[in-house]
Amino acid sequence: MSKEVLIELKNVCVQYRFPTEKVNSVKEYVVRFFKRKLKYRRFNALDNISLKVCRGESLGIIGHNGAGKSTLLKVIAEILEPTTGSVEINGISTLLSLGTGFDPEETGRNNIYLSGAYMGLSKKQIDEKYDEIVAFSELGEFINVPIKNYSSGMRSRLAFAIAVDVEPDIMLTDEVLSTGDAAYARKCSEKIAEIKQKGTTFILVSHSMSLVRSMCSKVLWLDHGKMKMYGDADEVCSAYEADSLQKSKAGETPYQKLNVTET
């Protein structure tokens, strides 16, 4: 029962502070500073999140738009430092989100090397995996074309091929698996099953309940930055679906109770 803990979050809060009016110039900032008119609104993107994920487990994160799902992913990827609380991550993690991190002017080939570098691979390691990445992405001759000429499907193919080939301990995906044609989608899910078996932990953000059900053992339901429900995948997904249905019948929109405090 001594499973290796890969991710441990304790009482994580992320607070965004944004000015009531956007102050984007020095003059305005100085004027407002002296007039004491710098008003901020505080907005809790994540409120007191605690969770623990062990090796081999997979976690789905669901919730309405703006519930804090992507913010939570960024915290787990250690891109965003929480305002309070502690984050402990053991192992290499990669965040897979649509087409970011690529340099559009560079060719696919150079971007493979750059992305690899950002993920912490040495040139030698990438050299070894290069052919496999290109083969999996099925980009063929396009690998020597600048990324700016790629279609969005081609970009996500490349991003996915790089991410899975790195074989990270933790793979964070933000709504990426829904792009790509049917044949490729099948290939992806096969690959995911394969690396899951090898011990990669998946954190999946998705609005597709069927995908979450099929891939994840546990699911976290976020609602306005708070943990609404956390537990068995089937149970949470069903509760979420029931809740969404009820809300849409009642005509309630998710943004009605934005928890903003003025200071």
Binding site: A77, I79, S97, G99, T100, D103, L114
Partner: protein, 269 residues
């Protein structure tokens, strides 16, 4: 365990850094026919233009005025290129910083080191011109003092990196910095003796010019490569202190501001 993690982190940053520098250098000469040769040609052509315009005013009685121009322009270029490219570097890396865990400092550092690489290419032009000068100007030769470049260059790069950190951090929050710095750069350029000589200037003006750190860097460089038709000499102790002092002070300021602001970057990108 922890030190192992740190070492890995450092190794990763180093590789990211070299990839970025290579990418920057490649990017600069993309789609240009002569490519990197421009780094050698441009300073020489600029030198000829300035020599043609100012030679009569400031170059009188100085057989190596062309070296006076060339050395200063490639030295000043390290600063201007590093800072102008670093300025928007953090703000323009939104996609990258939102998807990968990366030390923010790596980005302006890569820009600064790219300008160092370009300096090294330009230095080829300087060395060629110096060798030519040995043939045509009696009394001038390339002295061993040029070895002091290994002290001078790191100081100049650290100084430029300090300014770059400061600008890159502030630009995330205030986009006006771009315009303010653009104007400031014009002032800075004219307050540095790049083409003029301060001999006949009133004392008050000379004092202002000497407060400018770039004057110290340019002077030091000219001292070691030689000026006024004479070979290079060993710089005075005060000159060493100035270039060290400015580098440390500017780096400390830049790093302090950058460090205190970097936690908020991701919220503003």
């Amino acid at each position: 365990m922890l030190s192992d993690k740190k070492r890995k982190e450092r190794k990763k940053n180093l590789y990211v850094l070299t990839s970025m520098v290579k990418q920057n250098v490649r990017f600069k000469y993309r789609n240009s026919f002569l490519g990197v040769l421009w780094t050698v040609l441009r300073p020489i052509l600029e030198m000829l233009v300035l020599w043609f315009i100012f030679g009569q005013f400031f170059g009188n009685g100085d057989p190596t005025y062309h070296l006076y121009l060339l050395s200063a322009s490639i030295a000043f270029n390290v600063l201007s290129e590093a800072t102008l490219t670093s300025l928007k570097s953090i703000a323009n890396s939104t996609g990258l910083l939102n998807s990968t865990k990366l030390s923010y400092e790596v980005i302006p550092l890569a820009k600064t080191l790219s300008s160092l690489v370009n300096f090294l290419f330009s230095a080829v032009a300087l060395i060629l011109i110096m060798l030519f000068t040995m043939i045509f100007v009696p009394g001038y030769y390339v002295n061993w003092t040029i070895i002091f470049v290994i002290v001078w260059l790191p100081c100049l790069v650290v100084f430029s990196y300090g300014v770059s950190l400061l600008l890159a951090a502030l630009y995330v929050f205030f986009r006006d910095i771009e315009h303010i710095y653009g104007v400031f750069m014009v002032l800075w350029r004219y307050l540095t003796p790049l083409f003029y000589k301060t001999d006949s200037f009133p004392n008050a003006v000379v004092m202002i010019i000497n407060i400018n750190p770039m004057t110290q860097y340019v002077d030091f460089f000219r001292t070691i490569i030689g000026q006024n038709g004479l070979p290079g000499t060993v710089p005075a102790l005060s000159q060493f202190l100035f270039i060290f002092g400015w580098a440390i002070a500017m780096y400390a300021l830049g790093a302090l501001v950058f460090k205190s602001l970097k936690r908020k970057f991701i919220l503003y990108l």
